[in-house]
Amino acid sequence: MADASLQTGKNTTLAHIAYVLKDNPVTLVAFAMLAFFLGCAFFGPALVPYDPLATNAENALQPPSWAHWFGTDNLGRDVFSRVIVATRLDLTISVAAVALSFVIGSILGSIAGYWGGWLDAVLNRFLDTIMAFPLFVLAMGVVAALGNTVENIIYATAIINIPFYARLVRAEVNIRRNAGFAQAAKLAGNSDLRVLAVHIFPNALPPMMVQVSLNLGWAILNAAGLSFIGLGVRPPTPEWGIMVAEGANFIVSGEWWLAVFPGLWLMLAVFTFNLLGDGLRDMVDPRKRT
């Protein structure tokens, strides 16, 4: 079967991705949505029709119309502009937090998984302690303790994400620690550190990418949740969580657009990352490869 084709590895990888996308069109949609949100984050502030902070008391609480697609809030600010502009902040928080936890978790997990022993035991106890807190509650505590800033939301979100990466990397490294190719690499003159960094860790990356994608969504939810209860980003900065919190006061009197649009946007963003994670999982799942 192998001699039938002489294509290179790149080609088959692309073919596999094409196959998965065809098999699961939902993933294609997720990629398109991701592109849209990235576009909003990069160009949104330059393109929105109104200044997201400009108040206009005469034009307060207007329902959605051609002039204001998502209506206006209680101070007369354009909800659409605020929702789009908020994309950059929310994505920045989640990307920064996930990147931090990815790096720290990878280092901790690699060390524990490769060398094992007391290092592993200590790390496990440490992670157990973090995981012993309901994670959102821990994030609340961290932000409350460190102070109400965007950076602290990032740190708090990173801290509660670290255990996921550390455990995943630990497991992935651990099963490959004594794999034939790791031993062969040692025989080829690689030091332990090099075997770990060059041969074992890259093989753990595919499942990590799935985790990254799922966690990006979760990190957005988390940051928005913190803002919702008054921690982190402060008004009048446009941020989805705050906007929902502010809009919540008007929902019982029927002004639904204040809360619903930012909420929907938030949901769509999280949905995108979750779908993406699912799609990536299919791509890296060896059982789906022939």
Binding site: V26, T129, V137, A145, G225, I229, A248, V252, G254, N274
Partner: protein, 339 residues
Amino acid sequence: MTTRTKMILGRMAQALPVVAGVIVISFVLTRALPGDPAAYFAGPAADEASIAEIREALGLDKPLIQQFFFYVGDLLRGDLGTALSTGQPVMADLAARLPASLELTLVALLLSCAVAIPLGVLAATRPGTWVDHLCRVLVTAGVSMPTFFTGIVLIYIFYYLAGIAPSPLGRLDFIYLPPPHVTGFYLIDAALAGDWSTWVGALKQLILPACTLALFTLAPIARMTRAAMLSALSSDFIRTARAAGLGQRKVLYGYAFRNALLPVITTLGMVFSFTLGANVLVEKVFAWPGIGSYAVEALVVSDYAAMQGFVFAMALLFVCLNLIIDIAYALIDPRIGLS
């Protein structure tokens, strides 16, 4: 059996350093809270001297390490300090509010399991079909909904538009009296008292917040059930069972499902953590008098004793829960503790 018992005892011993870690972290976190509790407690009109006096009375002038030992000592006596905002002992506040949170969480989890596990099994028995894709999109949408947003949308639809839900303010409409306190769970207490109109009233209040939480936890349970079921169904022992002529039901439920339940039980721990966290947001939206909304109020006024008590109680609750899950797992899976 002795090895099993040993394993369970060992697992309990493992929880001890975690509890110690929880105590340290909850102490450190709350001591770092911004704002001066002494100044807050003394009131806006207080001068430097009276603030210092109060600081001394609260033990805040001592070195941090000494404060920590006082804290541990107090903990051992069951004293979590006094909440500045309510003037009550934190322990009493938490004890009064915990049943509300627990009732909400448990009802939500039961609801979620009742939907998610059959959904996962259904998807796993028909992989790649539209049923499978639909399940996936549904549960992914569910986990993507911020709970605070879902809550608000549900209130808008069922309270404002349809008018079938009661006003989202607490556990019981003001026309009912709370049932006599036995467990603190209104549904149970009302049933015990035979007061069915109150029971229905409590249920009506509970449905929306419970659905909000359940929607959020649907995804991890359904996903894990599907994955575990798929891997169980493709394993060799299922082929043996089929080759031995065992019936479809026996193969699916007796063999595959029981094996698939093990990873699902492990996931429940994680799901519980999500639920307890999301609880804080849902309680705020529905003005639910649980410990989550208590914490949010405490946070706003930098009430460190209340905050500390809340974080500590949550963590302790969760540690116990994980312990129960692990022990349940060990009792179900004969391989634990022996291999």
